[in-house]
Symmetry: D2
Subunit: 371 residues, 4 copies
Amino acid sequence: MSGGNIIGERFVAMSFGESHGRCVGMLVDGCPAGLQLSEEDIQGQLDRRKPGQSAVTTQRKEEDRVEILSGVFNGFTTGAPICMLIWNKDADSRAYEAIKHIPRPGHADYPAMVKYGGFADYRGSGRFSGRLTAALVMGGAVAQKLLQETLGIEIVAYTSEIGGIKADSITAENIAQRYDNDVRCPDPAAAEKMRDAILAARRDGDSLGGIVECTTSSLPVGLGEPIYASLEADLSKALFGIPAVKAVEFGSGFEGSKRRGSENNDAYYMMKDGKIVTRTNNSGGILGGLSNGMPLIVRVAFKPAASIAKTQETLDVSSKSQAKLAVPGRHDPCVVPRAPPIVECVVSMVLADHAIRAGLIPPVLKKKGSA
Amino acid sequence: MSGGNIIGERFVAMSFGESHGRCVGMLVDGCPAGLQLSEEDIQGQLDRRKPGQSAVTTQRKEEDRVEILSGVFNGFTTGAPICMLIWNKDADSRAYEAIKHIPRPGHADYPAMVKYGGFADYRGSGRFSGRLTAALVMGGAVAQKLLQETLGIEIVAYTSEIGGIKADSITAENIAQRYDNDVRCPDPAAAEKMRDAILAARRDGDSLGGIVECTTSSLPVGLGEPIYASLEADLSKALFGIPAVKAVEFGSGFEGSKRRGSENNDAYYMMKDGKIVTRTNNSGGILGGLSNGMPLIVRVAFKPAASIAKTQETLDVSSKSQAKLAVPGRHDPCVVPRAPPIVECVVSMVLADHAIRAGLIPPVLKKKGSA
Amino acid sequence: MSGGNIIGERFVAMSFGESHGRCVGMLVDGCPAGLQLSEEDIQGQLDRRKPGQSAVTTQRKEEDRVEILSGVFNGFTTGAPICMLIWNKDADSRAYEAIKHIPRPGHADYPAMVKYGGFADYRGSGRFSGRLTAALVMGGAVAQKLLQETLGIEIVAYTSEIGGIKADSITAENIAQRYDNDVRCPDPAAAEKMRDAILAARRDGDSLGGIVECTTSSLPVGLGEPIYASLEADLSKALFGIPAVKAVEFGSGFEGSKRRGSENNDAYYMMKDGKIVTRTNNSGGILGGLSNGMPLIVRVAFKPAASIAKTQETLDVSSKSQAKLAVPGRHDPCVVPRAPPIVECVVSMVLADHAIRAGLIPPVLKKKGSA
Amino acid sequence: MSGGNIIGERFVAMSFGESHGRCVGMLVDGCPAGLQLSEEDIQGQLDRRKPGQSAVTTQRKEEDRVEILSGVFNGFTTGAPICMLIWNKDADSRAYEAIKHIPRPGHADYPAMVKYGGFADYRGSGRFSGRLTAALVMGGAVAQKLLQETLGIEIVAYTSEIGGIKADSITAENIAQRYDNDVRCPDPAAAEKMRDAILAARRDGDSLGGIVECTTSSLPVGLGEPIYASLEADLSKALFGIPAVKAVEFGSGFEGSKRRGSENNDAYYMMKDGKIVTRTNNSGGILGGLSNGMPLIVRVAFKPAASIAKTQETLDVSSKSQAKLAVPGRHDPCVVPRAPPIVECVVSMVLADHAIRAGLIPPVLKKKGSA
């Protein structure tokens, strides 16, 4: 609807705020009543996303303490809209005034300038800043807790590639340790190389991109709707809402398009406990847009960060003359290390929305006082 | 909304029908009044999609003649909902009764069985059939004409890879001839190899996948909304609504995630006529979710067709015993050759929706009797 | 969304067609799977609405046989969109060509002319015709059956006033006979007077208006959402979608606004079976926008039919000169007698939508083969 | 969507907050860029609504100073979501703990208790409080300014009846003075009587209801969409979102349903300046759901305030025994005097939404730097 700041049908989230405005916030409507929820439940994911955590991230310092303004009473959600926000404290807008007519290559500056007729808040990319992903995390952390508590679904995302360096060995065990290193890669050896590559790129005044992979425990069968609200459709829509994402694939994805059907189809069999599963998971857990009871597998490609210190060619649109630009401000040399909690949260919002649509999560979790 | 059969906010389309039911149709709400429209405007794209056209497609024979039931008066759209449909005539449902408890690997059969409690129409994949893409084409053909007539936007899609065989040389000239060969690949030499590969796969009782690429003439600057209704978000949502699509990338996509920022950023410059463009188009025409005035570039990966004659392992879910299945019925050994008109139409619907949202296409195209 | 032809969030309906076009239809998305449904279930209500039934209705003769084009398989809904339509057969468009520049007082002609730039289908009021209420009946008849079969809710509407003549005695018994007389008023003596008044107005080349009242069996507690999706909000929105409706009130309505709180508040008590009820029902079954377990009471005022034979003053907007107009065509001298099935159906759609939202009706009614 | 807290399609508003929570707020998405906007533009209407203004309102003292948290930059809207809120300061929740199991007659307490399983915030009616109308005023004040600055539309609401006492003479002149007396009735003599009646009711521990009428300057022709998004449909939906509203009528409304067509139809004529108008305005400015160029006329009935000091019969739902209740807390003896600014704001939001949908207000009001 409208300005594009709303997502979801049953678990609905509307984002607000700007990078250098007063705050960044998320308003969630449709969260069932009766979910135990405090600011601490959200803070964990926000902390994994926040800037200034390590040498591989931007040096902007923000505490990013979430405040819940509504929708929670006596420690439980009430069914009313949940308004959450973080206040901006360390914004430094001085650099942006000078370049407000000089669009930075790879950023939204130029189309935003045209689209909003000069009224957009250009400071720190305004509404297009990566800082807005904090709103995604706030909404998604609520969804993530909701999925865990009601359906026992676990959602994990991790860095699988940075600057062309791929994680080698990814296991259930090392995924559990994904947040133990700066780049959030389960493979510690690859993590080390990725870190070095980011620091090298930064030294060169340059940046890197990479890939985040997200998987889940087995999903219930039948999430998603055919055609336009397929799980793939709604997940990709939400994932492309993360700045710098340029590609999304499920299961065998692009690779699978090179195979034959007999190689790519996943054969069914029944486990001893009667659960129906497939021998492989090339579908990434989704068939015909519906979850098939296997874990979700989705991969998300992030372009190299657009803000680089290296001098680039661009235009001064006010004087209509060519310009050279070394992007000022404090920036991430690679956005991937901060992306896994964001991807987890975005995926959680979509799955929560579909679980409510499918009737798997009721409007009230458990009547108060009931056994 | 609801069952997932609706897409769009201003140019809204709701699909209906089943593969072996009475018809497949599309209901479009929000098309501006005053667009000259006849069944012939839609039939062209439907003909490019229809089955039985060549040796590389299914042999089901359907005339697929579109009928417009509402919303057009005296040869022009009225602003009222446009209901369009094709009648199913050559459905052969005999094979499906026998396998209604035996889910075909790679198809929606199993999750649909669970989700709809046994009530779904399973004949020919019912609502999950590739035949439903005819609805996308009907809605999209209207959008495509609307974009051409109002903004002069051209949208072209073509096969760029099948079974791992890549088109070598793609030019504006050979793109114009993309519909001249059976596989709809602009590169005639690659097209020949692709055709042979499909026929070989079919002989082996197997199938192939591939990649369709879509591009446009320069888009107006500023289509799309930040975050959840970014052009990438809405295009990917719509494209994943095409059965068998498993990956979507824009511009340099996955490849770009391996580059440095200085390689991937597109430098701005001004053309002699004052138009602001970029030297490269790694962004695929989209920055921050907004069109930047360059052509759109999007690539869509289709998995190998799930229906294969080769025997596969699966389950009989009624007897709960393992089963062997050679999928019956008539099928495409590769869906890619029929996909380019579908991709063109799907992209058109999304762009039309956003052009209306941005105020670039008015509610009435031109007052009757005005100059 | 979009052109205003869609209603509902979970039980979603999109209307299409024109009075003198090929058909009038309704596309319903979100009806749960597993509802036994045939054309006969819809035909009953359509027959009560159809034209040419008696001396007090228009003489246009339409059979109005509904066809279900999709969404039903083996006699049950599948969860897929249900497309239903009736074909127009007795349209006589000759009269409308002559007056296409002469807006009829009380009709949408003039604003539609301006809004759609001359492209609207003006024949028989086109999209604004009372004939479009057949679409409401098709969608609503499905909802009405759904509510009966799942929650046992009965919805009844009847004429309570025509031309200022009020029904005197309305009882559960005579409500059951409401369709036994031409004007659908439960009170037979009042019905006789209403009928005479309509015929007298017709003889004078004039028309009458009136009031339809709708009530239900006890609703489940808690339907509706606070503020914008309150039951009153959504019911009124849907009811004002019926042409000629100019006022809607719930419970004591306008009358109640003259009372004191101590007179208008409904006191709670508990029945012997433990059910909590109120002694009076001034709230019309809705408090704070939520159903409170009492029957719904809503009253809907219809203006006198705008099409009258009497000469009226208007304008020829092409020549910009004053004109005299005796409206041609065949028309209802009072729309109220045909309105009760429409009101029942419209109310049913809203209640079904909210019952699904509240989780009271599941996505699949009962798994096939389950006890 | 979802929890019912969102309204609008292009000018979208989502309300949040509770009566005794931290704040009450409104998040607006879709407001065009380039509207000059400060907190003062909103404060005026909030001040007219705020409690404790006079002897006829509740004695709760709230400053209700609005803060804009996002979406405005350098004094102009940016096109990004506008988050506005007021902090709650004078909430006194002591009384509510004692009655949390004793539903107050005429309030949402009982259905809310059931619907939200005991998790709803019951303090001061929580989400169902009249205090939530402050959110409507915040969103609507932005819409009201937008309509004035772009289309010159003026929207005025005033008290026309309280406790059965009707305003006698209402003129353009005295409407302009409507906010000069405590009850906001343009007719000063009637205002005096209304005030006395409210004070008398309060002395009796009782309350009164009444009617607010809203009208506008001439609307542009063609606002509204046929059927479900008719102006009447969308206005009534929004108006029933105001607590205590039980009836809505347009133009001649219920009265008109007693007339003949020849009396109720509005005859067209052309003014000297070429403007097409009607001699009467029984349609209230709306025909077929579309504005016809005349002023809007809508009347809204408010029930007597449910909170009264007089002892009422009710239930203790925890002990399942009858109870007597004198409602504690501070309350309005009549909500009507505070309602006119709310009605103005609610009507403004709907008209702004439709003006944007109709393309009459562009996404950017005026490019910066353009003449």
